[in-house]
Symmetry: C2
Subunit: 161 residues, 2 copies
DNA sequence: TATTGTTATACTCTATAACTATA
DNA sequence: TATAGTTATAGAGTATAACAATA
């Protein structure tokens, strides 16, 4: 359960008294708030590894797609291509990814994980499992599965594709 | 459905090709991404009304709790009390809320909606319904309800209380 | 001493325009 | 003329420290 609500965060996730249920009538509001809370916890953990959520998202995505180019990667992680430049720059400097010119289209930068990148993404995934458990702990196993399935469906029909 | 993915947003929600399913293994990742997308759409709509998500969150929350003080409001909307000052300042300048000293504890600022504030929150809620429909359109009615229920449960056990 | 609210500041995230090089 | 990537910049969002008034 949320064991460390009195931690160093200055966001007020640990409210003293709950708002009435009617307040949370909008699914969009709940998504926004819960997304922010999830991002906050991930960001705190990743910062200890010198990373941001976008860095991790890029590594995780690359682990899946194996090879892609920069613009496509930006789309997959939900970041504007212009803002993705610094993300990719950072990961390349850390030698977690490698960026090479695509000979077929010399405008493109082919991107793939390095061996070190694969190790790092695995380490971060492990570290994230605790956060995941902590956030979902208040739900039953069935509820956790149902939520995941619905979020995945929603992701497919809104963000992705 | 998502009719305007080729709009003025420079976030890349409208991806050309989908990532493999394994990519979306983490519920926390899905929450983060979907929350960001929801916030993005709300922010775009609210900006047309000269507002931010926090402004709307504060108005909506006040409509529910009727009367509270600044620190408590900050907790309810998930913003650090120090960062909530400018939010409350803004809403007071727009005459959407009124802020008065609590006679019982003169450190506290009692906050409540004005009549104009109530009108505004209703207007914004209406404007938000389209966004809500748009985001959830790909799900069936049953799925929408199930998702809402689960998010509300999750909100209660993590963010709230 | 602790709490409510405030001011100030820095840092991250997001949005946007203008540019280079390739196609 | 369009696309991949880059540079630069401004604004919104978040985190943090130090402070005044009041309890």
């Amino acid at each position: 359960m949320i064991t460390d609500m009195a931690d160093n965060s200055h966001e007020s996730a640990g409210s003293a008294s709950a708002a009435p249920p009617e307040l949370r009538a909008s699914t969009g509001y709940l998504l926004t708030r819960l997304g922010a809370e999830s991002r906050r916890r991930w960001a705190r953990m990743l910062a200890a590894h010198g990373m941001t959520p976008h860095h991790y998202g890029a590594l995780m995505t690359l682990e899946n797609v194996k090879v892609t180019h920069q613009q496509h990667l930006a789309e997959l992680i939900g970041v504007d291509p212009r803002n993705a430049v610094s993300v990719v720059d950072f990961l390349e400097r850390q030698a977690l990814i490698e960026r090479t010119r695509d000979p077929a289209d010399r405008r493109r930068h082919t991107i793939r994980l390095t061996a070190e990148g694969r190790t790092t993404v695995e380490t971060l995934r492990r570290a994230g499992e605790g956060i995941e458990r902590d956030i979902l702990d208040g739900l039953t196993g069935d509820e956790q599965l149902a939520l995941h399935t619905l979020l995945q469906r929603l992701f497919e029909v809104t963000v992705d594709r």
